[in-house]
Amino acid sequence: MEHQLETIGRNMFAIFGVMALCGAAFMVASKSAVHSVLGFLFAMLCVAGCFLSLDAEFLGMAQILVYAGGIVVLFLFVVMLVELSKFKEKGVFQLQTRSAVIAVIVGGVAFLAAFRNLLFGTASPEALVLRPELAQGLAVAQQNAQAVSRGLFSDFLLPFEILSVILLVALVGAVVLAKTERV
């Protein structure tokens, strides 16, 4: 049964990954903004599925809660408020199509060149850990909610707090920008 579940999990990861890519492609290609948001939502849910098939249930649920439940709803809210139907008739890829295609090809080749070994080489026997002396603590955690919270709130507390301050700065900046525009 364990073996079967492992195989199923690996296959599920592939299925969810392909589905996420399809959602992302739909998001880029669709002409209506609301359809784009739907594609994005689908991609996000599939990424959550990828996390779940990798036994990272906490991350998967956080993905659904934060992206599907929060961020995409706000996207949809804004898209519904701003009437975009005027732009519907224009072509999808009307802006800088050629340079965009070139950039994507160059980026893809560079990515493959850099991560060739990572993608197609043999996997390392042990997981890569940022600070090996803390790995013991993570191994003790029984569930990955515990592991994540241990990482965030004890081992890497300072970087975590600094990150949240950076987000706060972005928030304040957004408020300031919006205010000056209105006056």
Binding site: F58, L65, G70, V73, L76, M80
Partner: protein, 389 residues
């Protein structure tokens, strides 16, 4: 109650899961129409009228002779509760057989997708809800494939069950918003925008109020949390204070999340015709209806499990004062869970019959100015009780 880990093959696990899903779905499909019937009757009695009585109360039919005798004696037939009951079958038949209209200018795909998302989110949540954290009964030996195996009171035992529930519930808002947008009409759009703002706002205090039981239980697993909070073992006696406050905050936010009165602004009839589902008819409307009532049941189940002591008799962890040796009252039972769920569902109807609707600015004030600070203070108290005492 220890759960025996009987090894099951993959087929058995899948069949067992399917069986449990079917049972839960049937239970929900029975509870929802009964709830609509109860809604008519309860509101009727609160407003000093009889509610639905007429369907089986005519002078013809099976109950006709009895009714004729009752009326001739100058009395209202006393079985009026039973006599209105067939109305829920009529309701369901009406929804199924009604013409399914899609407006000409609507976005057909999204218009169809919206009720599906609503129902899927509402029903998917039941996967992680534990009605009884243990084995309810053992299937008879003769049962094909899964004979003799325990039938547990939950479909899956998710490590992060509470997050699963909150996540899926937050996906449910898409049904309303997309349905509103796809209708391509003014009133639904306004209803949808209101709904998005309302649900996103109330999700914040809702989640924070649920953090109190999470903090006190030290787990995100639905089953573990409900057992620990119900028996009250390891809880500080003062933990009743944050649980008590949290319960009322959670229930308030639950009303808002399910779009019930007094927070039913997305479908405020007086201003918005029928809000987000104005353009819907037939079973597509029925799906929204189903999702709303299923959500009510989920909110009640969560409130029961985390605040009202779940499958034990006394709420807020007071159960510890009844020793486990007391028969029935000291023992866990599914009946207690069901009774409490029904009581909270009754509160939903009670509030609907009593309170008027909030104004929109009042609605937002309640969420951001009162409930949010209250939940934060409550969370602080809970943390203090958990770690300082």
């Amino acid at each position: 109650m220890p759960i025996q880990a009987i090894p099951m093959t993959l087929t058995q696990t899948l069949v067992m899961g399917l069986l449990q899903i079917v049972v839960v779905l049937i239970a929900v499909f029975i509870m929802v129409p009964l709830l609509t019937f109860a809604e008519r009757k309860v509101i009727g009695y609160i407003q000093v009228r009889l509610g639905a009585t007429r369907l089986a109360g005519g002078h013809v039919g099976i109950t006709g002779p009895m009714n004729r005798i009752m009326w001739s004696m100058g009395k209202v037939p006393m079985l009026s509760i039973v006599r209105g009951l067939p109305i829920f079958i009529a309701d369901a038949l009406k929804l199924i057989t009604k013409e399914d209209i899609i407006p000409a200018k609507a976005d057909r795909g999204v218009f169809t997708l919206a009720p599906i998302i609503s129902v899927m989110a509402a029903f998917g949540v039941f996967a992680a809800v534990a009605y009884y954290p243990g084995v309810m009964f053992y299937l008879p030996k003769g049962f094909p494939i899964v004979g003799g195996l325990p039938f547990q009171g939950f479909i899956t035992d998710v490590n992060v069950g509470l997050l699963f529930i909150l996540g899926l519930a937050s996906v449910g808002v898409y049904g309303i918003v997309l349905g509103a947008w796809a209708s391509n009409s003014k009133y639904p759009l306004l209803g949808g925008l209101r709904s998005a703002a309302q649900i996103v706002s109330y999700e914040v205090p809702l989640t924070l109020s649920l953090l109190v039981p999470v903090l006190l239980a030290g787990s995100l697993n639905f089953k573990e949390m409900s057992i620990l909070l119900a028996t009250g073992k390891g809880l500080h006696p003062l933990a009743i204070i944050p649980l008590f406050i949290g319960f009322f905050v959670y229930l308030t936010c639950g009303f808002a999340e399910t779009n019930r009165v007094p927070f039913d602004l997305p479908e405020a009839e007086t201003e918005l015709v029928a809000g987000f589902h104005t353009e819907y008819s037939g079973m597509k409307f029925g799906f929204f209806y189903l999702a709303e009532y299923a959500n009510m049941i989920v909110v009640s189940a969560l409130a029961t499990a985390f605040f009202l002591g779940g499958h034990y008799l006394l709420p807020f962890g007071l159960q510890r004062f009844i020793p486990e040796t007391v028969p029935f009252l000291g023992q866990p039972s599914f009946i207690f869970f069901l009774g409490k769920v029904c009581f909270i569902l009754f509160v939903f109807l009670w509030v609907r019959a009593t309170l008027p609707r909030y104004r929109y600015d009042q609605l937002m004030d309640v969420a951001w100015k009162y409930l949010l600070p209250l939940t934060l203070v409550n969370l602080f108290i809970a943390a203090l009780i958990r770690f300082a005492f």
